[in-house]
Amino acid sequence: MKLHEYQSKFRFAEYGIPIPKGQTATTASQAFTIAEEIGGPVVVKAQVLAGGRGKAGGVKLAHTPEEAKKHARVILGMDIKGLIVKKILIDPAVEIEAEIYLGITIDRAARRSVMIASSAGGIAIEEVAAKTPEKIVRAHIDPCLGLPNYQARNIACEIGLSRTLWKQFIHITSALYRCYEESNASLTEINPLVVTNGNQLLALDGKMTLDDNALFRHPRLAEMRDTDEEAPAETLARQADLSYVKLDGEIGCMVNGAGLAMATMDMTKLFGGSPANFLDIGGGAKSDKVAAALRIILADPNVKAVLFNIFGGITRCDEVAHGILSALGEVPTDVPMVARLVGTNEEKGRAILAQSNMITAITLAEAAQKAVEAAHGVSVK
């Protein structure tokens, strides 16, 4: 789960990381009031969970409250990569001497969290990493020690930070790691961490991604989820504990297991079709979950055929079959369905589906081929 910039920065501030004293607004007149309170030039920033908002015109400098109001009116309601801006952050504008990049994430290969820093912060940091990797400093974090001061000092030293800023920098890195760990984050990022013309470090932008599997420990963070930022189908899927991503194809896929789901999608392509979605019903899925999954797939008007590919381990084929029938009972449809059930209780599952008029298949190739044909209107019964 991703947090908005303002949510991330307010959380950073709880750990003592200095941030601009800004406020959020949902209307242009609120933006005016906030800018007036701040009393100097402000920056109006769209709060959307998408990259590239700057390029899209979602971040604007305003010298007066009137100007802030004008910008707010433009930005609120703006469509950025398919997401509508419903909230803006009004931050005081800051004179910037330098921009630092500072982030913490998981390094799978090292099996550690890693702090990454660079003196070349800002939006071009990925380019810096690709072209001048020596400007990127990494420090792997021992889970037993957290981030000891010496590591923060090593980083400060290696990015060539002025000594007058070391104390602040050590404070910020240590706070950022505690914030990361105590939030069960998989990413915390300050980009840029700026040096102001008053020689202070300030977190100008903030980003956090939380580990969904650990949200049960952090009810206050879990509540921060902005469902406006999800496609409605994804919200429904999450509530039913399904992993779903909408795609542009015509073949709805319902599969147990992420790897098999991806392989199934790849197969539809191989046989000339295109997947309408990624959908993993997970291990041990019961019939109500299967029914919810089917409703989500059928709600997509692009779907011309549905392909069920269930290979039973924890998941039992009979339960999946029940789920399919029960969902079909609730959501009558003309969309053709191809089902392939293998593994635990496969005979029972097939017997249950035999009552319906589904197309069945034994191999995955056969199933994918039949689904593509069905979607493209070829008779396959």
């Binding site: 099996r111 991806m262 291990g283 290979f311 039973g312 381990g313 924890i314 995955l364």
Partner: protein, 287 residues
């Protein structure tokens, strides 16, 4: 021969009285696995079928001399269950549970490295050596003994491949599901090394998917350390671009992580990569 589990495996089941634990214990016993005990705190002294239940892994190990544990407890308790097994001296721990928080796993993995226990998983289907031991949730009836070693990051996709192998008369030495989580106990290279050293394994199937750099590392290992042929399948060619973790994720992963990167890395070192899972037997036959 085989790797990791066999007839000498003395298995305990953590979470044996739970829904999944009891169901799969029954399946594993029916398969012939030597399950010597189970653990559910507070239910010591009960029985699940003919398997005695203990309150703690320590007590189970003392009573049964177990040398392997499979974990079915809910994700909330999985890290603790793994630590408990390692602390009780279990050399091989197989965690089936999915949804374990990543930072928990970093801590657990560091502890295991200190203790010298091997973990397979979490979020994996487990291990199966045909006709010897089924440790986890792989359906036994799709496997058959033979000379192909299977290692996979996926769950059900592994079954798909094993099923195809068996259908084509190609038996397996051991099928190993290493799990797809960012931090897992055992990676591709470690399993490849074991297959390389196993005298019976003749060919190896590697099943990967997008994300991480484990396949790229496996390719390097195959080029440098392996003499046996490897064929592979990588899932995710049509998947939407991997949702990376901000700039940090992009910096860490660079150009790796996509199906293209993995397939290229493997093909570059001579590994044949299948276009779809059921093509695997064909590629093996062509070796």
């Amino acid at each position: 021969m085989s790797i990791l589990v066999n007839k000498n495996t003395r298995l305990i089941v953590q979470g044996i009285t739970g829904r999944e634990g009891s169901f799969h214990t029954e399946q594993a016993v029916a398969y012939g696995t030597n399950i010597v005990g189970g653990v559910t705190p507070g239910k010591g002294g009960e029985w699940v079928g003919k398997v005695p239940v203990f309150d703690t892994v320590k007590a189970a190990v003392e009573a049964t001399e177990a040398n392997c544990s499979v974990i079915y407890v809910p994700s909330l308790y999985t890290a603790d269950a793994i630590l408990e097994a390692a602390d009780a001296g279990i050399p091989l721990i197989v965690a089936i549970t999915e949804g374990v928080p990543v930072l928990d796993m970093i801590r657990v993995r560091a502890f295991l490295d200190r203790k010298g226990s091997r973990l397979v998983g979490p979020n994996c289907p487990g291990l199966l050596t045909p006709n010897e031991a089924k440790v986890g949730i792989m359906p036994g009836h799709i496997t058959t003994p033979g000379n192909v070693g299977v290692v996979s990051r996926s769950g059900t996709l592994t079954y798909e491949v094993v099923y195809a192998l068996t259908s084509h008369g190609m038996g397996q030495t051991t099928c190993v599901g290493i799990g797809g989580d960012p931090i897992c106990g055992t990676g591709f290279t470690e399993v490849l090394a074991m297959f390389e050293d196993d005298p019976v394994t003749e060919q190896i199937v590697l099943i990967g998917e997008i994300g991480g750099t484990d396949e790229e590392e496996a390719a390097r290992f195959i080029a440098e350390e392996m003499t046996k042929p490897v064929v592979a399948f990588i899932a995710g060619r049509t998947a939407p671009p991997n949702k990376r973790m901000g700039h940090a994720g992009a910096i860490i992963e660079g150009e790796t992580g996509t199906a293209e990167s993995k397939i290229k890395a493997l093909e570059r070192v001579g590994v044949k990569v299948a276009e779809h899972p059921e093509q695997i037997p064909e590629l093996i036959a062509s070796l």
